[in-house]
Amino acid sequence: MKHGILLMTLAAAITALIINAEAQDLSFDGLQAGLARIKSAGAAEPAPAPAPALKTPTAAQSRPAAEREWLVLVFMNGRNELWQNAIKDVNEMELIGSTDKVAVTVELGLSQDRGDSSRLYIRKDTTAEANNLAGKIVSPAVKVSGSDMGNWKHFVDFARWSYRNYPAKKVLAVVWGHGSGRVDIGGADNSGSEFGISPDNLTRNFIRNRQMARALREIEKSIGKKVSVYASDTCLMQMASVAYEIKDGAELIVGSEEITPFNGFPYSAILRDLAANPGMGPGALSAMIVDDFSASYSATGAGTTISAIKTSELPEFVRLLNDWLRAAAVPAHRTNLLNAERETLSFEKGYNGNDTADRTGSKDLYDFVDLAGKKAGRASGLHAKGEVLKNFITGRLVTRNKTTPPGGDYDRAKGLAIYFPKMIYDQSYDETLFSRDSLWDDFLKWKLDRSYKVK
């Protein structure tokens, strides 16, 4: 999910545009107007786009004799209104290109590609048009007919192809497009209105968190090593239940608690810095992505969050969280906790409405624990356990965290969001590994129904 389109598909966005613009007009006449508006907005209209050169990258032109330091593979799903940003980001990558130490590959799906994505090996654009970010993509590409950018297997297929052709010591895997945090396997109304990550408007498919975990396992099996850094260049994915679901598939997870601006990651800066120091490890690369992302938005005034999480710390995090929850979920703290929840930093730009199918309903965990501790009082056991948990989050679990603008509300975001339903608990949350191992699901049920027993 990128900025401005709150967890909506393209059509929902279009509809919102139409409906909002025409007040209460819900008539069918809006359809024709909608068509015109889409065209003028440049979204979804199947129009010629800067085409990658459909030429298979050959071994001679692209692969060095030795294994590279890094393979950066970007699964770029522009099968929606983001397609222009996808082209822009590939052009950004071409400002740097692959090097003999860093290979960059992209699976590029666009809304106007009629289902045929392009598999690119990113080459530096040395033409006079290189700085035109809406311009022609020069990297050699392979056409992938009938591709489904919402299918986790297609992501795996792309990763395998990338590694087979451009093996490297370490792998950064990026999923680019829309994302909706924990909302993927049911949604609050369990009615098929799920969203997940990487929704493909053409195939109406998307990748669920559980499937992403499986995809990362399959990739590890294929390439013989774990993905070093998994990054979601999308909105809202940096949630406890998401990270916990995919923790075994990557060493570090980079993502945003909040909605991400359309421009997403600053690829030229990231690739430039990586090219300058290709020997860096996963920890350094994940920190660098966080820093470059934050730097690119610090001057714009945009409200952003981004963090890196060390997956090996997640089991201990759950232990400490459970410890805190056992102390918290008692009648004596109930009012304080409910008040703390109300004041806690909410994401989706402070959304505070109904529980609906496609709302993440997420808040910052650290902020909640902090507020709860303050309300309970410094002398309380809850405060003490909260301090331990908070220190663990900032000291060990979240290895890098940055927000913009400085001094704003997002200063309270410490890198990990968590689910907070208002009235209706999404029953599919019970099926997550996070619910298996943590007491957060029990806590939420207790929050919603005081008679519920946290076991």
Binding site: T15, A16, G146, G186, D355, I424, D449
Partner: protein
């Protein structure tokens, strides 16, 4: 060659027209005789023009196609693919389609007429309007049917007001006509679903007039299958909420009326006394069936696993004593037993997952059962009779999914690639309906349970309707499955043609590659095991990255389509025979689901 020569006579009219392509054919296959090459070229030309009569003739001309499969498998596959695609399209359109099936026909056409599909090489698609030219050339359908097809392909004038002639309107029309049916449907469905979504999220009205509007508003006819399911659920909720609210006092109503529907249902669910085991009044059950679970009613991760384990043994116990169930038990007894999981199924009641060889039952369906019967996970799990009752409730859909498992097992044993097609669903639905019919007749508890649940659970209602449809006319059942339930799934002929087209086109392309590129592909491509595990659409999209031996194997499998069609025919015959046997043993007469 005598047989060949005789058959060529029917093609004299096409021979001359085909001669221009002959030289190319001869150059590609130097060992062919002039007559053989000309015959191939004639078929190719006629099929490339989308001639359905020639397509049918080619498919029946097995001596020729068998010979060609041996002589030039790629050419044979490309021709077979085109012939299957054209024949399948003609069959699809020849069926009777009712006005209210516009969306179903549209979906069925969108699966076939799109860029990259074999029909494009027969002159049909990706521009949808090419279908109308094809119909005019080869079919003499009624004006009514032609009109329905125009609507189904979403021709501009059938969707938008056509009285505007300004530049924008003309530009819109040009833009629209550049879209495929799939793209047009996506646009319309997303518009419709956006409108529905807004209602579900924010609208508080539940009255009868509002419900009528939601049911009949023109935009909603463009909802896709998932959207239509949402609309149905929404309507069920509106009706239940309206009925429940009519019993409330004004102060209680005030707390509910300003909420959107999900929240109204949730709050209404809290107003009933939930102490009555086995469920409350009809109204209470309707509300409970259509609302979300409360915290104490969900299945925790641990209870989920425990229940799945209990159902794994309890459901087979329910299958004993019925012919369809016995067939499933026989299958499981000959190998590993069933594996059962409970998960959110994304809009389905159950599914079979080949990768894990497990049957996934929808967690919401089970929670709905608990809510309607005033059960919690704890009260369920502590009582074996309650688990057995739930197992009985789930058994029909289990039979359905177990049939899919048997289909996969058959393909594995035969060592062939099997796409998932309508014919698989015809068999699975027949087995399920047979099972349901037998149980309705023989098992009063089963009958009572479904009688109670059908008013509050679409799952129960649909099981009964399916059984009734099968019982009423098993001969028409397969067409009902194709046109009413699984229009979004390709027929075997359509799927085979599309996979064959992708695979054979890739093999043809590969011949033109340089040796180093070919070697690279053979080194890095997906192997046979990976390819055999792919769905048809995955295979089509991945063809360029699959090793040649795997592509050749799949091409070989699909070229010999009698293996598949023979199985589908056997399954169909078996279902009818089983129904006959069941009737003979006292199962209900045609068309008669036992009174509930």
């Amino acid at each position: 060659m005598t047989a060949l020569s005789l058959k060529i006579r029917g093609f004299r009219g096409l021979l001359a027209a085909a001669l221009s392509g002959f030289a190319v054919s001869c150059a590609c296959a130097a060992s062919l005789t002039w007559e053989e090459a000309a015959r191939i070229a004639a078929y190719d030309k006629a099929l490339s023009a989308g001639d359905p009569a020639i397509a049918e003739k080619f498919l029946k001309d097995t001596s020729f196609s068998d010979w060609l499969k041996l002589t030039d498998p790629v050419k044979a596959a490309l021709l077979l693919s085109k012939a299957q695609a054209v024949d399948d399209l003609a069959r699809l359109l020849d069926k009777p389609w009712r006005d209210e099936q516009e969306a179903e026909l549209s979906k069925a056409l969108s699966l076939r007429i799109d860029s990259g599909k074999p029909l494009v090489k027969a002159g049909i698609g990706p521009v949808p309007e090419t279908l109308l030219s094809w119909m005019a050339g080869y079919r003499s359908y009624s004006e009514h049917k032609t009109g329905l097809v125009r609507k189904a392909i979403r021709q501009f004038e059938t969707v938008f007001a056509a009285d505007k002639t300004d530049a924008d309107a003309l530009e819109n029309k040009r833009s629209w006509e550049n879209r495929t049916i799939r793209e047009r449907n996506i646009f319309l469905a997303e518009f419709a679903s956006g409108k529905l979504e807004k209602l579900i999220k924010y609208e508080t009205e539940t009255g009868k007039a509002f419900r009528e509007w939601v049911r009949n508003d023109d935009v909603f006819k463009y909802l896709d299958q998932a959207g239509r399911a949402r609309q149905e659920r929404y309507l069920t909720q509106l009706a239940a909420a309206d009925a429940a609210k009519s019993k409330l006092s004004a102060p209680r109503l005030d707390k509910i009326n300003d909420q959107p529907i999900e929240q109204q249902m949730y709050l209404l669910g809290g107003l009933f006394d939930k102490s009555k085991g086995g469920g409350g009044s009809l109204l209470e059950r309707k509300v409970d069936g259509a609302r979300q679970s409360k915290p104490g009613e969900t299945l925790s991760y641990q209870n989920n696993r425990l229940l799945a384990d209990m159902l794994r043994t309890a459901i087979p116990g329910e299958l004993k004593g019925s012919a369809a169930g016995g067939r499933i038990l026989q299958f499981y007894n000959s190998g590993a037993g069933p594996a059962v999981a409970i998960e959110s199924c994304q809009g389905c009641y159950a599914k079979y997952e080949p990768a894990g060889a497990r049957i996934v039952l929808d967690s919401e369906m089970i929670q709905q059962y608990l809510r309607v019967n005033n059960l919690t996970a704890e009260t369920l799990l502590s009582d074996k009779t309650r688990v057995a009752a739930l197992a009985g409730y789930l058994a029909p859909i289990f039979v359905h999914e177990a049939t899919h498992q048997m289909q996969h097992s058959w393909a594995d044993k035969a060592g062939i690639y099997k796409p998932y097609v309508q014919e698989d669903e015809i068999e699975a639905n027949s087995m399920e309906a047979l099972y349901t019919l037998e149980k309705l007749k023989k098992d009063p508890k089963f009958r009572g349970l479904f009688s109670k649940m059908r008013s509050s659970a679409s799952y129960a209602d649909q099981r009964l309707k399916l059984a009734q449809r099968f019982s009423r006319n098993p001969d028409d059942f397969s067409e009902n499955v194709r046109q009413l339930y699984y229009y979004g799934l390709p027929s075997f002929e359509a799927a085979s043609s599309q996979v064959l087209w992708a695979v054979s086109s890739e093999l043809k392309r590969r011949k033109g590659l340089k040796a180093d590129a070919r070697n690279e592909l053979e080194k890095t491509g997906a192997d046979i095991n990976e390819a055999m595990a792919m769905t048809a659409s995955e295979l089509i999209s991945s063809a360029a990255g699959i090793k040649t031996p795997a592509l050749l194997k799949i091409q070989e499998d699909l070229l010999h389509n009698a293996v598949y069609t023979g199985r589908y025919e056997d399954a169909s015959d078996r279902a009818v025979a089983m129904l006959g046997a069941a009737r003979g043993s006292g199962t209900p007469k045609t068309g008669a689901v036992p009174a509930l």
